[in-house]
Symmetry: C2
Subunit: 193 residues, 2 copies
Amino acid sequence: MIGYPNCKKKSTAPSKANSQSRRGMPLEDEINTTNRYYLDQDRAAVYKKPIPINIVKVQYQSRQTAKITEAYYQMPSTTDYNGIYQSQYLDFEAKQTDSKTSMPMRMIHPHQLEHLRRVIRYGGVAFLIIRFTYYDQTFYVPAAVMLAEYDAGVKTIKHEWFTTNGFLIPYRYLAPVDYLSVIDQLKLEDKLQ
Amino acid sequence: MIGYPNCKKKSTAPSKANSQSRRGMPLEDEINTTNRYYLDQDRAAVYKKPIPINIVKVQYQSRQTAKITEAYYQMPSTTDYNGIYQSQYLDFEAKQTDSKTSMPMRMIHPHQLEHLRRVIRYGGVAFLIIRFTYYDQTFYVPAAVMLAEYDAGVKTIKHEWFTTNGFLIPYRYLAPVDYLSVIDQLKLEDKLQ
């Protein structure tokens, strides 16, 4: 159940791997910063979807304020991020791993991979952002190549695989995970799926 | 503050207007049913975004289950729905009113209108779904025409305005708010913004 709030906290706790990284800001925060920058620059509108929550009890203190007193996390049905850039629909999931060697496929939920498959079928730009915190490397991985591994039953993807099948996302101060620069490059080379 | 969970409950409570309608299912539920049908038919992937919630306290009962014991509703920064259809990015907000005469502009938050303006600028399909429960009519309104009213300082939009500026969304049993049929028609006529 990696990727859930309780687990996420764990993976962002200080660790040997993290302390090696130049920065150490969690991937999610860096992507949010990047998306805010894209908004400010009037380039793209990409948002993280809120975590779906099943609300059981609410106390109404007044007409305006409601306090939720019992609620539970729900399984998200799609990926975490989507939006629009240059008339194109973007959809992606982001994960980070502390491992030096590989990323386990189970880090990405099967229904998220199926959602990305659907996005490709409908003509959207589907990808994954995978960070190896140990190497301080963040990769843009087209969903199609990840799906090929998944369909072949691959359970673990080696770090080397990312260096040949993914694209390193440049770090910029104002856009720490500047994934649009990768999309721009792929578009130029007519390689954007 | 219309459109918030505590207020939403009020507007879907039984009322004279609602009891006149053929159906009476809340608009949100009908749109969700429609979106599920589109998914089943492999036509489009459109989802309602979860309501953003600010989580204050969480009890961890075990590694797997977390109980949220204090949380508050947050202001959503965008519209409620977005997705992809035939390579196009769709983005819309949905509201229903019990009024016989008009819809107050304040039902739609200014930041949601600004978000829709941005979506148009980036080449997406931006619209509103407005239901008059009294007449049991649900309108597709291109965001551009609604923004023109908003920019002109209009505070209340008459029901008649919708019949001339909007497009009636057909009701179908499996797709109760079949908005894609309006998009298809607008596309055919080359009128899709």
